[in-house]
Symmetry: C2
Subunit: 268 residues, 2 copies
């Protein structure tokens, strides 16, 4: 098969190009097509959809064991996906996959996560996308289950022709692949961060703060992402960033806003 | 009136504490209650909901003309709102207002914007919030219209008791306040970034890239935020970050995912 008749799969992450998770993704996806990795040169956790506009980006070939592994970028996951699709790749990818993140990205973490943001950028570009996270922060965890399932889900997405593209957010429990109980299609749970900052003093006596928030799993209904992972299931949530909401219309009347604005500037 | 019987209003932005826009917000909101400003020490445009977890934050009192103006933080708008609500303030704010941003935050920019992210953090904390942006990037623009309208809208939000809190994203056209035609309640337009990176060489002959994307106003239906601003109206959109979407269920069957996963790990 000619190389560029194959599906093109773009991989990114937020843990950095040297993280074990991204190597697992490469293993999972290489059998399915041509794989190109464009990922941050260093750890970019919790960068959300941050975009670099005020400094130059460097794109550097990155080798592992003497072979080209991918390209590192001194930016965020969103930068990586934007520069790959617009500038580096010779054609539009058929799939964008971000991860495998070391640590779950459930509930509100979908908003803060750089891993999910990388996949969201694929969706925004009109490409089916997957974000994959593993429930353990231990970078030596066994990622077999995540690797197997990502392969299955990616193959599925490469074989559908859905007009409305999707972003699938996958969270895999920290269990050996054969102990994982199965898959659940889930909603985002209502878990939240209990924000906390520890106040400390530096060696010069100046005050500083470390973020020391705690993630509170608040929601125990079985149809949520957190419950699935806690119960030993792989969670798959479909997410979007449409963000529009009409709840405002319930209690603020346009007419009164208009009148008040007119009254006010006339008096100004 | 005792000071802490007044409503407490938290102000942040993404252009930095020294930007003219945040001073306009202070003017607009000071008549409505006790105002506290906690804002990034420097420009943080396009940082989205990025959260600083890997470095210490410094909170420094910031003076203007010899008087305390607010507190600067070496972080993002989300950091500012989180540390203010959890650590710095003596009570929960009644309103969070972010801006006034120099440059519109319409359509997909709601996702990338640090200004909107600051307000979104208020919403996540269960507080009515407003993000205010002005259509011009010129920091010497006349912000009177934005200032007047923010005062009106903030007063309105301080006087409703909505259980489901809202985030109102306001965009103000670059016109003198009396030339603004009125207010529209809008949806997010489908405008998009046409991503582009300029390839250049540094003085040492090494390649680098600048983001040079162009914002394409694609949508001309009058009910969108971009159309409102283009037509000379103040745009108010209600947005949320619920992000859940059930479109996936249309074309991937849970049963088959489960079967394929089982088949696969057994063969592994």
């Amino acid at each position: 098969m000619k190389k560029n008749n194959q599906p093109l799969i773009l991989i990114t992450n937020d843990d950095g190009i040297n993280s074990p998770g991204i190597e697992s993704l490469k293993n999972a996806l290489t059998p399915l097509g041509e794989v190109v990795i464009v990922a941050p040169e260093s750890q970019k956790s919790a960068v959300s959809s941050a975009l670099t506009i005020n400094k130059p980006l460097r794109v550097i070939p990155y080798k592992k064991n003497g072979n080209l592994f991918g390209y590192s970028v001194n930016g965020t996951p969103v930068d990586c996906v934007k520069i790959a699709i617009s500038t580096l790749l010779d054609r539009k990818p058929d799939l964008v996959v971000s991860g495998i993140n070391h640590g779950r990205n459930t509930s509100i973490n979908v908003l803060y996560s750089g891993t999910v943001a990388g996949a969201a950028e694929g969706l925004i570009a009109g490409i089916n996308s997957i974000a994959v996270s593993h429930a353990s922060h231990n970078i030596e965890s066994n990622l077999d289950g995540a690797e197997i399932f990502t392969h299955i889900l990616a193959r599925k997405l490469l074989n559908v022709s859905n007009k409305q593209k999707v972003l699938l957010n996958v969270n895999v429990p920290d269990l050996p692949s054969m102990k994982i109980k199965g898959v659940r299609l889930t909603k985002l749970s209502s878990s939240r961060w209990a924000d906390k900052y520890e106040k400390r003093q530096d060696p010069f006596g100046n005050e500083y703060f470390w973020f020391a928030g705690e993630f509170i799993t608040a929601d125990n209904t079985p149809d949520t992402d957190d419950s699935a992972v806690n119960d030993g299931y792989i969670s798959v949530s479909s997410v979007n960033f449409n963000m529009y909401d009409d709840s405002f219309n319930d209690f603020v009347e346009l007419e009164s806003l208009n009148h008040e604005y007119e009254d006010k500037y006339r008096r100004n």
